[in-house]
């Protein structure tokens, strides 16, 4: 006889992982150009260390799909000789990878001390109000995502708003950010270039 209580293996209580499920996304394959970039990247590491290129490969998936899909990660795993779980393990660690669909323009406001001392909280508030979303959310039109980021390494130009992981908008104010949003709406990606300040 068993002292063990009767286990009910129903899907309500068991086999329910806490792990966030990744979006499967479209069936994925790199475009020929991106595959060439990845192949070139692989030449930079010892042949048996293909895994070193995983961050680069994930950036390429993100570029192609807008965010990291499960099928994209499996494709990367296949090329680099990793398991899908290993790729997911890496992808979930780094904040510059998006694991769900994000807006066409991701506004990343630096919130750490030097930027906060220069009024970053007010910038976030202004953007939040303007877009009608809270940090971490995407607006209904799918155009903008608002995120808070940690120190971007240019605190002398605080506060900084980074757009799409690369375009910096420096010494931001509530007004300049509101203008930036309008400019992006009006001119698209062209509004992003040229915001990077030269060294004074």
């Amino acid at each position: 006889m068993s002292f063990h209580p009767l286990m009910v293996y129903d899907s309500e209580r068991f086999q329910k992982s806490e792990r966030a499920r990744l979006d499967e996304g479209k069936p994925f394959e790199f475009t020929r150009e991106r595959r060439a970039i990845l192949d070139d990247m692989l030449t930079k590491y010892p042949p048996e260390q293909k895994r070193s290129a995983v961050l680069g490969a994930l950036y390429l998936v993100q570029e192609q799909e807008g965010y990291l899909t499960a099928s994209g990660m499996r494709h990367v795993a296949g090329i680099l000789g990793m398991t899908a779980a290993e790729v997911e393990d890496v992808a979930t660690y780094y904040v510059m990878f998006f694991r769900e669909r994000v807006g066409k323009y991701v506004l990343q406001v630096c919130r750490t001390l030097s930027c906060a001392l220069a009024g970053a909280e007010r910038v976030t508030e202004a953007l939040s109000e303007k877009l009608g979303i809270k940090p971490g959310e995407t607006d209904p039109s799918g155009m903008f995502t608002l995120l808070e980021f940690e120190c971007l390494g240019a605190c002398d130009r605080a506060p900084i708003v980074m757009v799409n992981n690369e375009h910096w908008h420096e010494q931001a104010t509530a007004e300049s950010c509101s203008k930036l949003v309008d400019e992006i709406k009006a001119r698209g990606p062209a509004a992003l270039s040229g915001c990077h300040l030269e060294v004074e």
Binding site: L55, D89, L117, G153
Partner: protein, 431 residues
């Protein structure tokens, strides 16, 4: 002191190869390739060059420890620059990339490495573009790649983009990340000098550290030591940010006092305000008070004053800054960036943030203040990497110096520090 590393950064073309070659560019490399690798290590030891990444460890010694019997060996250049308040490597790479390449090559020659990986943080993509374009020119002109300058020395430089993780700046975590894993530190020993990247001997050096090599090779060890106080030789980049009139990167001798850096170089505090507190070495180090600033900004003197020079990220706060708020801001950073590998840091950081939040919101109790100290002290020294100490520091140091402010929050149920820029509204946001 006449700037050395940043002498030309204001010139429009300072980042180009042509400009660099006109200003003694790659002369250090030429001279170094004519020297024995061991002599270079001895020279760097004699110069007393200390790592600029945070720990201030002597670079020559680090190179000496690199196991010279195992092949291949690597240099991993730490360009992760993510310590809050630090932005010096940014300027060096954007405006003077060839200096970094030259430093990498000299380092590789000294320890017998054939590849230098520059691990640059993902957010510096505009800087990476500059580096890549200039590196291609250096390859084309024979300053990198095969048979460098016809000497038969082969050395590659590879730029590797990170993806947003503060912890990737820790040297073993950086190596893990280079290997395509999560940026979580390894247990030391073995140190990277023995088993680093791909388990091979690796020297992890900060960008500014490597940039100091060409001038050392050209001008000698004595010149270098003469630039600063004893054991703190050479030029140093200081990053001043926060409530100063002219935030920026300033190159100076470590003889310069912290007060001079804040009041002369950075133009002093905003008009009509007065200094309240200074974090002298990036967010991870203890606060110094306004009466503690008349000391040379050197590794040893700042340490004697009870703080650390760290990455020389000087964050200045005036009297409008609420210290509970500042500690809360930084603890959000640390709880967010903890790699989660060890419990005191992962759980402790989270609790420190929660408690600081409730005090900041006026919902704390008096015993919360001692609880902060108790949790902080249970993190310090009990973690795998130095991140743990760094995470506990903002809470411990603010309670130590500004306990009255914490008590006022609890007593009054609100912040009592008058502030123009911190509006009455609570900050929106995920935290």
């Amino acid at each position: 002191m006449e700037p050395i590393l940043t002498k030309y950064v204001r010139e429009p073309n300072s980042f180009t190869l042509d400009f660099y070659l006109k200003h003694q560019g790659y002369d250090g490399l030429k001279k170094a390739l004519g020297m024995q690798p061991n002599d270079i290590i001895e020279l760097v030891k004699a110069s007393g060059l200390r790592g600029r990444g945070g720990a201030g460890f002597p670079t020559g010694l680090k190179w000496q420890f690199v196991d010279k019997k195992t092949e291949p060996r690597y240099i991993a250049c730490n360009a992760d620059e993510s310590e809050p308040g630090t932005f010096k490597d940014h300027v060096l790479m954007e405006r003077n990339p060839h200096l970094l390449f030259e430093g990498c090559l000299i380092g590789c020659w000294a320890i017998g490495a054939k590849v230098a990986y520059i691990y640059i943080r993902g957010e510096f993509f505009h800087v990476q573009r500059v580096l890549e374009a200039e590196l291609a020119k250096a390859y084309a002109k024979g300053y990198a790649g095969k048979n460098i300058l016809g000497t038969g020395f082969d050395c590659d430089i590879v730029i590797h983009r990170g993806a947003g993780a503060y912890e990737a700046g820790e040297e073993t975590a950086l190596i893990e990340s280079l290997e395509g894993k999560r940026a979580q530190p390894r247990i030391k020993p073995p140190f990277p000098a023995v088993a680093g990247l791909y388990n091979k001997p690796t020297a992890v050096n900060n960008v500014e550290t490597l940039c100091n090599l060409p001038p050392i090779i050209l001008n000698g060890a004595e010149w270098f030591t003469s630039l600063g106080p004893e054991k703190n030789g050479g030029p140093k980049l200081f990053c001043v940010s926060g409530h100063v009139k002219r935030p920026g990167v300033f190159e100076a001798s470590m003889k310069t006092t912290l007060r001079e850096l804040i009041f002369d170089y950075a133009g002093g505090i905003r008009d009509g305000h007065k200094l309240k507190a200074v974090i002298p070495g990036g967010s991870s180090v203890p606060i110094l008070l306004p009466d503690q600033l008349d000391i040379p900004a050197s590794f040893d003197d700042v340490q004697k004053a009870g703080s650390m020079l760290g990455s020389a990220g000087i964050i200045v706060m005036d009297e409008t800054t609420c210290m509970v708020w500042a500690a809360r801001n930084l603890l959000y950073f640390y709880k967010h960036e903890s790699c989660g590998k060890c419990t005191p840091c992962r759980e402790g950081g989270d609790w420190l943030y929660k408690i600081l939040t409730r005090i900041d919101n006026g919902e704390g109790e008096m015993r919360d203040i001692d609880l902060l100290v108790s949790i902080g002290n249970n993190i310090v020294g009990k973690t795998l990497c130095a991140f743990g100490d760094a995470a506990a520091t903002p809470a411990l140091t603010t309670v130590k110096h500004f306990r009255a402010e914490f008590e006022a929050h609890v007593r009054e149920g609100r912040c009592t520090v008058p502030s123009d820029w911190r509006a009455a509204r609570a900050p929106v946001g995920a935290h």
